[in-house]
Amino acid sequence: MPRTARDVVFVDGVRTPFGKAGPKGIYHETRADDLVVKCIRELLRRNPDLPPERIDEVALAATTQIGDQGLTLGRTAGILAGLPQTVPGYSIDRMCAGAMTAVTTTAGSIAFGAYDVVVAGGVEHMGRHPMGEGVDPNPRFVSEKLVDQSAMFMGMTAENLHDRFPHLTKARADAYAVASQEKAAKAYANGRIQSDLVPVSVRRTNPEAGETGWGLATADEPMRPGTTLESLAGLKTPFRAHGRVTPGNAAGLNDGATASLLAAEDVARELELPVKMRLVSYSFAGVEPEVMGVGPVPSTEKALAQAGLSIGDIGLFEVNEAFAVQVLAFLDHFGIADDDPRVNQYGGAIAFGHPLASSGVRLMTQLARQFEEQPHVRYGLTTMCVGFGMGGTVIWENPHFEGAGK
């Protein structure tokens, strides 16, 4: 049977405000599944033209798939969100690129014709599920030296990256981090972020964490506007004595969820759903686990090659900021300046936070907003590094591009 691959579009994306993990964080008493359920419901509310029964799949990512992030989250969250019982769902894991992989995997299935419309997203409640909870690494990793011992600890892999690229100094990393905070604060001031946030009711019973009772999370908790080079200079380097990676030039430990709607372009047109981005290509690639931060370089090379594009064709970049050095390594490789205005215009994970498996869709939601504002840009990309030595890249086309000539 001959097949025609279908164009896949990003219809909409939302997220919860991100919180700080831990007993004082806004989501300390909020379940992970509830976070992602609220995102799915918001997507449905924002897109009333979409009959819920037209959703063919709910793919949700979480790194630690136990407790309130377990039980085949895609299915259970669908039921909790009030989707028809006919809508199936599953869980997916590629650590930090979980939501990104939920998007690419379902997008591939849409192109293949298996689905028309999907929900793809992710959640990570790092307060309830600290990194490494319940893991049981095979002893062969160490005994056979399959990976360096530092590969298990993301902060150490970031230090390793500084070793590999000595010219990417702590000073450059700190400067990058300060700029990220500045850009994020500006984006907030300009109202660029809030419109894609889903307010979440949050309960607090511990008076040490602040006012008790029910409250409402409406903004990202980790943000530190006003961060300066001086304030970063004195921070500790927890992963290595006299190292370079600090809590100031890395994303923190966070709680949050994201969800997006993807559709075949013809179906989106039929249902009169918005088309915010068109998928061009995607790719994942592996690197040495102990320098996982360099992963976006080969994944981007592959995705560009598949699309027949060069780095110069990309007008906007949304690079996840797990660590400043990892963004710098990417930019350095492609000859892009640390402060290139095309990169992370609204700031990044250093400011907003990085609840592992949820972050991929945040990048996409922000890129979609930037496309809308900048119709002169045709292509943009979202990319992120992934634990255990991987990178993922998705290239998108701006449907608002004025010179598209269709």
């Binding site: 359920v37 609220k38 419901r41 909790l80 969100a81 009030g82 889903v198 307010p199 979440v200 009711s201 309960r203 607090r204 019973t205 006012e211 008790t212 009772g213 029910w214 409250g215 409402l216 409406t218 903004a219």
Partner: protein
């Protein structure tokens, strides 16, 4: 004039054991940049199994929270105030324990006034107030929200009610006054009177919205978020909240009159609460809220100091607490699993039992009888009833298939009962027949099987006496209609062992019945009391009192039905049979009415013409009476004295553990009302107990105002 704080402080001193509900104030930014908002969360610090209530200290906490938000509102720091509850619970009203301890009218007044003083502040802040009914809301919980400017309700709310009249109170923290002014008198009467008097019927979230109590309805998944979003839209003027105009004309009076008629039909004027509530609703027509609140305070104080409410709380505690922990039941760990049930007999009662066991236990149930036709009829009845449940949507098709497959019939007891764990007989009410049945069954069942009897008047001990293992026999006395009346009298015969009894209680719990342990005494509890009472009324008739006079005699008690109507429901033949049994046991107290015998012989179904309270002339022709005519009051005094004497004797005989069990039986097995507390609290407060047995059944403070 005392301040609210002084008032509440005084009330708190009377009730030191209060579980205090905190009122947490937390600030948040409303979506859309609408402004800063103060949200008050009512939370007693426990999970949903201990719902949030209001006692005096709790009211003080809320008062303090309102102090804070009032100042913030006045200073322009906030744009609105919200009120919500902990997960699954909004608030379930006044703490009844706090009502039970009140001794002085002034304390009762303080509770009413204190609640008003605190709650009504919510309607006088400089900013609008919002109640978000997130979960169960009852009584004062509903009322605190009525004082707010706006309300939203969650579709997930399973229970929302003003149960005060059900207990013997009025909604006295604004409910009687604010509700009709919000949703109109007709709907208010439905909530305050009808639902409350219909076994405390609960509203669901969607109904709360339909009735107009809540201005908006949101799904449970993000109820609070959507409520706050809605709040932002209201405060920013994007959304105008519209409520229908209330008809303050004749419709108001008509609604109140309809409420009175409803109350009359339920309690026949015998309990004051509904009438007091209706008086306040009637007066609320003029919209004078403060006058209404004052009337609520007065009604609360009167009712709290009255016997009906104390009996109501006593009855509520029996049904809610004692019913769940039956007095005298053995350790439940002794209970054996029941994985298959046998029913001997396939008549109507047996079929009803089969249906009940199949639905609740979801294990195979086999009916047996003496011929195939009877068996088929019995199984057919059960299958038809299951089909009816399916049609009504009470069960799905899969469940209906499962239930039908569970209920089968057999002529071969050996095959049918060889693996049964529990066999109940519902055959003809005659000792010889029942003994024979038990002997047959014992020969074929496993050694551990329980043999239960649904006898209403025969001795269970005697029934078991010829068995090899009499220790496995228990009485399991249901009340008709089985699906409606909750009571199950579990009879411990002389040789019944603890394991069998524990199994019986475990099964009763699975059947969702209110099990009461009774001794193997003639007619057990309910039938003995009803028969004694009926005998007293029939005796008066036999002596020459007109039927109508005798039948009206008990009306001031507000029983669910008059004696002669009850006789009709039970059936003259059954009543006569039970009377005969009790006469044999206690000839000095239980008479046998020859007139009733003639009625039975004539095949009459009652004394009245069908559907009326007019004496059937054919019955009148059968009657041979004396010429002693008693007044209604005399008939009543005799009947109450008879009941008091009989209960006293039953307690002395040890038929049940305590008077509480007698009352629990009468409430759940005969539908006797809360305001009588079953009956013993009424006998105490009417002075009957003192007259008949020289003392009250209960100490002061139990179902009465403590001294």
């Amino acid at each position: 004039m005392t301040t609210t704080q002084e008032l509440l402080k005084g009330a708190a001193d009377v009730f030191p054991d209060e579980v205090v509900t905190q009122a947490h104030v937390r600030h948040l930014d409303l979506p859309g940049g609408v402004g800063r908002f103060a949200l008050i969360t009512l939370d007693n610090g426990f999970d949903h199994t201990k719902p949030t209530t209001f006692g005096p200290q709790s009211l003080g906490e809320l008062d303090a929270a309102i102090d804070q938000v009032e100042a913030e509102a006045a200073a322009g720091d906030i744009v609105g105030v919200g009120l919500t509850g902990k997960p699954f619970i909004f608030a379930v009203g006044a703490d009844l324990k706090g009502v039970e301890v009140l001794k002085e009218r002034s304390d009762a007044e303080a509770i009413g006034k204190g609640g008003h003083d605190v709650f009504k502040r919510l309607s006088h802040l400089a900013v609008p107030t919002f109640a978000y009914y997130n979960g169960a809301a009852m009584g004062g919980g509903v009322e605190v929200g009525l004082h707010c400017t706006y309300r939203t309700v969650s579709q997930a709310v399973p229970a929302f009610s003003l149960p005060e009249v059900f207990l013997g109170l009025v909604p006295g923290w604004g409910g009687c006054v604010l509700l009709p002014n919000l949703i109109g008198p007709e709907r208010a009467v439905k909530v305050v009177i009808e639902n409350s008097m219909n076994q405390n019927k609960q509203l669901r979230g969607a109904q709360v919205h339909e009735l107009g109590i809540a201005d908006a309805l949101f799904e449970g998944a993000d109820f609070l978020e959507q409520s706050l979003h809605w709040t932002a839209a209201v405060l920013s003027g994007q959304l105008a909240v519209e409520r229908p105009e209330i008809d303050r004309g004749e419709a108001w009076d008509q609604a109140v009159a309809a409420g009175r008629a409803f109350a009359d039909a339920k309690v026949h004027g015998a309990a004051p609460a509904a009438y007091r509530a209706l008086d306040i609703i009637a007066a609320a027509k003029d919209g004078d809220l403060q006058a209404g609140f004052d009337a609520e305070d007065a009604a609360l104080a009167d009712l709290i100091m009255g016997g009906e409410l104390r009996s109501g709380i006593y009855a509520f505690n029996l049904v809610q607490k004692r019913a769940k922990r039956p007095a005298g039941a053995p350790d439940k760990s002794l209970a054996r699993p029941v994985t298959k049930v046998g029913v001997v007999g396939a008549g109507l009662m047996a079929s009803q039992l089969a249906l009940l066991f199949a639905r609740r236990l979801e294990v195979p149930v086999v009916l047996t009888d003496i011929d195939q036709e009877r068996v088929d009829k019995g199984v057919g009845y059960v299958h038809e009833e299951i089909d009816k449940l399916l049609l009504k949507g009470r069960v799905g098709q899969d469940k209906a298939n499962r239930l039908k497959a569970l209920v089968t019939g057999s002529l071969d007891k050996a095959a049918a009962f060889s693996d049964a764990d529990f066999v109940i007989e519902a055959v003809f009410e005659e000792m010889g027949v029942k003994q024979k049945v038990f002997a047959e069954v014992e020969a074929v069942v496993p050694a551990h099987a329980i043999l239960a009897t649904n006898t209403s008047s025969l001795s269970v001990t005697e029934m078991a006496s010829q068995l090899k293992h009499p220790e496995r026999v228990v009485g399991f006395h249901f009340f008709n209609p089985v699906a409606v009346l909750p009571l199950l009298e579990i009879v411990r015969a002389e040789q019944t062992d603890d394991a069998s009894l524990a199994t019986a209680f475990a099964v009763a719990k699975q059947l969702k019945k209110t099990a009461v342990l009774v001794k193997d005494a003639p007619a057990f509890v309910v039938n003995r009391i009803l028969t004694r009472f009926m005998g007293s009324v029939l005796g008066a008739i036999d002596e020459g009192t007109p039927v109508e006079v005798a039948d009206r005699a008990l009306a001031p008690l507000g029983l669910p039905m008059s004696p002669i109507v009850l006789l009709e429901l039970v059936g003259p033949a059954v009543a006569h049979h039970v009377a005969g049994t009790l006469h044999e046991a206690f000839p000095e107290r239980f008479g046998v009415s020859e007139n009733l015998g003639r009625v039975v012989e004539a095949g009459k179904r009652g004394l009245y013409q069908p559907g009326t309270t007019d004496l059937d002339p054919e019955v009148a022709a059968l009657f041979e009476t004396g010429d002693t005519v008693l007044s209604e009051e005399q008939v009543r005094e005799r009947a109450l004295a008879a009941i008091a004497e009989e209960i006293d004797l039953m307690l002395k005989e040890g038929v049940v553990a305590e008077a509480q069990d007698v009352d629990l039986c009468l409430i759940t097995g005969a539908g006797w009302p809360f305001h009588l507390g079953g009956i013993t609290p009424y006998l105490d407060r009417a002075g009957v107990s003192e007259r008949v047995r020289g003392a009250a059944f209960h100490a002061p403070g139990v179902a009465s105002v403590p001294r």
